[in-house]
Amino acid sequence: MKRIPVSRCASQLLAQPLPRRPSCPYATAKTTRRSITPHNHRIQARFQSTAAIQHDGELEVELPEAAGIASTPSSRSASRGPRAAYLKPLPLEQLPSPHPSAAERSTKLHALRSRLSLPPRFPLQALARTLVHPSADPNPAFNNASLSILGRHLLGYYTSEWLLCNYPRLPMPVVFAAVEAYIGPKALATVAGEWGIEAAAEPGGEVDSGLLQFKRLKSGDELPAALRRQAPWKWNVTTTHKIMTTDEFGSSNAPPSPHALQKTPVPMEEAAQSFVRALIGALHVHLGSPLVKRFFRDHFLSRHLDISTLFDFRTPTRDLSRLCAREGFEGPVARLVSETGRLSRHPVFVVGVYSGKDKLGEGAGSSLDEARTRAAAAALKAWYLYKPVEVTVPSSMEGELDTSKWRPNLIDCGEVIV
């Protein structure tokens, strides 16, 4: 399909192409075929064209002859009327992002697809599109904004359902923190880095499609206003409100919409997370949800997160006695299990919290109070981190005819409120 870029093409449309001195005769021969993309970022920088024009409908794209696509007339350009005829074809350098037809020729994309173990029926054009951030290409038909919105909701759904089914007693703040640790912006940027995603120095039509295309935020510059805007959802934010209306991280500020980031320079993290989300969305669209679920399990749930480190108790002893009263256990009693060096400079006390004859938790500390508090915190963690033996997440029954494997999940009455 021939593409018509919108409003990114330069006013130098009718000007001569910029003189470029080839480094060797072989390169001259190559440039005539236009099948190579310049990797030198100095060359790329020379071909940046940022002046926008208003009448953008009548642009023709110069396409590589090797691909054989240039001969096939596009329906979109045909519908644009006869004014297209007198315009010169647009050089690749003036496209905001690589042409979809270049995806088949990109070795990086082939390598990425096989590195992620994606089946060959997943089109490389879709993979190339997920790598184009809206800051590089404002046209929503060619950037990954819509796919990243879809992928973000899928990721949020799969992660939170897995957490809620596997740890049914987790308090809501811990659930939010765990979701952020699994699929938060930082985690997604790390995942993209581990997949070997490299960023283009500057987005453009001549860049390899396998590179992440986004407009870089120069070092030392301030964040753009769209990312800096701290718009609270509401002034009175309760936990219920966080669950019902905010995003999956329970954040206090609304994140910027991907569509709002057109032409704003963004940091690498923002572009990388939008790529990972868009990839999930594209997988869902092209391959269906069973494969997305497997992909999610392999690449996200396989990451180790110690949820017990996410807790922060302020009054663990009081919470524990409240919990025991609520559940009808005997009141917790701290007992000294063992000690050493009581009169020395570094004593160690090991205190266990008992309810009746059962030990609920154990903690060590350099004072009796510290050991007692730590033991109570350990007991609370043991309560909250309960994990059922067999778990079936609701999404595993999607589209299943045989629902006999379904086991109802435990639903807890909630965290301890003092």
Binding site: D312, F313, R335, L336, K357, K359, L368, R374, A377, K381
Partner: protein, 219 residues
């Protein structure tokens, strides 16, 4: 024979060492103090009661993993309840068959091996504070009296004195009657005392507060 004697000697040592400087007094031979006295009996988990070769599994004691839910916290229909009950029964029979070595008495680190559920014994470790029953013994008139006394002269009738007089906790006195002026005065006094602190004391106190916050976080 010698082991028994040395053990006796260990057990008969005074529990609380005196705070007086230790005076060198020689009434034992050096060999005895350095060699024979240190020959303690082996830990019970290392001594097998059979002559046949056995497997010894004795990991260092460590705090239990918080991901292992205690029996009491499991829901009614969890499968692990039966498993825990079976393990407990096995441990009971084993414990009753074997005699506990004196080095593994309750109150010593060896009494609770980390890899087995605790041995069922009547003697739980000693509590840090004596557990007490809550007495709801104050009537409405007494509470009104506490309130009156506290408001009439907060300097004379402090929380401590009222708690002693009525046999309740200071926290309860603070709960039923609040004197903001007195609280302000006391906190101003504390602030003035804190202002006199030097650099080292201030740093030490602040660090202590910071460490205290970590108790509930990294346990």
């Amino acid at each position: 024979m010698s082991t028994c004697k040395s053990l006796l000697r260990i057990c008969l040592r005074p529990q609380q060492p005196s705070l007086l400087p230790r005076v060198h007094c020689r009434h034992e031979s050096t060999t005895r103090r350095h060699q024979k006295l240190l020959a303690l009996p082996e830990a019970p988990s290392y001594t097998s009661d059979r002559s046949a070769p056995t497997l010894i599994f004795n990991p260092p004691s460590s705090a239990p993993n918080v991901y292992h839910t205690p029996l009491k916290f499991l829901p009614k229909d969890d499968k692990r309840r039966q498993l825990y009950a079976a393990a407990q029964r096995y441990a009971t029979t084993t414990a009753h068959r074997r005699q506990t070595s004196p080095v593994a008495m309750p109150g010593t680190p060896l009494s609770a091996p980390s890899f087995l559920p605790p041995r069922p014994s009547a003697s739980l470790p000693a509590p840090l504070r004596q557990p007490y029953e809550k007495r709801y013994h104050l009537t409405a008139q007494e509470i009104e009296e506490i309130r009156q006394l506290r408001l009439s002269d907060p300097d004379k009738w402090t929380r401590v004195r009222l708690a002693e007089k009525f046999g309740c906790s200071q926290f309860f006195v603070g709960m039923i009657v609040k004197v903001p002026e007195k609280a302000e005065k006391v906190s101003a006094e504390h602030e003035a005392a804190r202002r006199k602190w030097g650099q080292r004391r201030r740093t030490a106190r602040e660090d202590r507060e910071r460490r205290k916050v970590l108790w509930g976080r990294d346990a």
